[in-house]
């Protein structure tokens, strides 16, 4: 039951993009096409779950016993950056097809604040290891859902007639605002 609440809350009620404002850069940047949106979501999911797993272990077995939790920010970002590099190298070797699909998105993920944000959040929320991983996977799904919805709308927007000054990013933000308003409808279901 606990897990179901975490999943629904992370995907709908506290959607990381539309409610918590994490990962806005890729949300605006790579959401022009549905295809790239799916690729990006896959890569984020992969890295986010791995990063949360690893940072949780580091937090409980290294930072806390040594009493250096104030080093959290520095350690976590280094771990995530090296993790991304490692995933890139391993994927290239093991599954070239998957690497082809996710490849170009991987370097971008280091500066995706959603990954670091979710890792820190799962520690702030006092989740245990399994809850943390479930939370990370669900957050990534929420990211994917928002990105997919948004990119589908943007593909339509290309064909719509929009005032000159509104074209491109401004209209994207207004659409995102309306999408966020729709997601507010989920408030209070868990």
């Amino acid at each position: 039951m606990e897990y179901i609440i975490i999943i629904i809350s992370a995907i709908f009620v506290n959607n990381i993009v539309l409610m918590k404002f994490l990962g806005i850069c890729p949300f605006i940047g790579v959401s022009n096409k549905v295809e790239t949106a799916i690729g990006m979501s896959g890569a984020v999911m992969f890295v986010m779950v791995l990063a949360t797993l690893v940072t949780y272990l580091i937090q409980t077995f290294v930072l806390e016993p040594l009493g250096i939790t104030f080093m959290q920010t520095i350690i976590f970002i280094l771990v995530i950056a090296s993790l991304v590099q490692m995933v890139e190298i391993v994927l290239k070797k093991i599954s070239p097809a998957l690497f082809q699909a996710l490849g170009i998105f991987l370097p971008l993920i280091t500066t995706n604040c959603a990954v670091l944000g979710v890792a820190i959040l799962s520690i702030q929320n006092d989740y245990n290891l399994i809850e943390g991983v479930v939370f990370a996977a669900a957050s990534a799904l929420g990211f994917g859902l928002a990105l997919l919805l948004f990119s589908s709308i943007r593909e339509q927007l290309d064909l719509a007639e929009i005032p000159e000054a509104m074209k491109g990013v401004p209209i994207a933000f207004i659409v995102a605002g309306l999408l966020a308003m729709a997601f507010m409808g989920f408030t209070g279901i868990v």
């Binding site: 670091l116 990013v169 401004p170 933000f173 605002g177 966020a180």
Partner: protein, 195 residues
């Protein structure tokens, strides 16, 4: 003259938020009021200026291959300094900004300026660039926070001048997206007119 231009380019022409669209997460997440926006902006300005200083000073000693990781460590150190200082001296602001303080590390502007500017320029120009860009970022945050505060709670910098509750939507998440969308539109309109 060129230094002055270097300083002011971040305000309008190359404004990180309105023109370059960099570092948008804290822009949306922390601007529920003008004060919060200003706090976030100044914290980022500090990190941006200091990391530009260090990067420009040691750029010749860093091997090219480990450039980015070294920049990240430098930036993360200054973020930790800001984090601990704010926790000690401005606990209210620290709570209001929450998660977004450690997230300054992954703010694309900071790494972007270190990589694109400070690693190629001298100490003085880098400091001016970092400070100017930071102020431009702060300006954008205060504008967005101000509009949201006026519409959402009828006050500015905490001074209430409209009775009643205001349109709460603008303090919540959708308002952030919509107000930023309109501000960018206004910016593009002004730009196309002057050009």
């Amino acid at each position: 003259m060129s230094q002055l231009k270097n300083f002011t380019k971040g305000f309008v022409q190359e404004n990180p938020v309105f023109v370059l669209f960099l570092g948008l997460c804290p822009v949306l997440g922390t601007t529920t009021s003008a004060i919060n926006g200003m706090g976030m902006g100044l914290a980022t300005t500090f990190v941006l200026t200091m990391s530009n200083v260090i990067v420009s000073l040691i750029k010749n000693f860093i091997p090219d291959k480990v450039r980015i990781p070294s920049f990240i460590v430098i930036i993360a150190s200054f973020v930790t300094i800001v984090e601990l200082t704010m926790q000690a001296f401005t606990p209210v602001l620290f709570d209001a900004l929450g998660l977004f303080i450690p997230l300054i590390v992954v703010n694309c502007i900071v790494l972007g300026r270190a990589e694109a500017f400070a690693s190629k320029n001298t100490f003085l120009t880098s400091v001016i660039d970092g400070f100017g860009m930071g102020l431009g970022f702060t300006l954008a945050l205060v504008m967005l926070g101000g509009v949201r505060e006026i519409l959402g709670s009828g006050s500015l910098f905490g001074i209430k001048f409209i009775q009643g509750d205001g349109m709460i939507l603008f303090v919540l998440a959708p308002g952030a997206f919509i107000v930023l969308g309109y501000l960018i539109m206004l910016m593009q309109k002004l730009k196309s007119k002057s050009a």
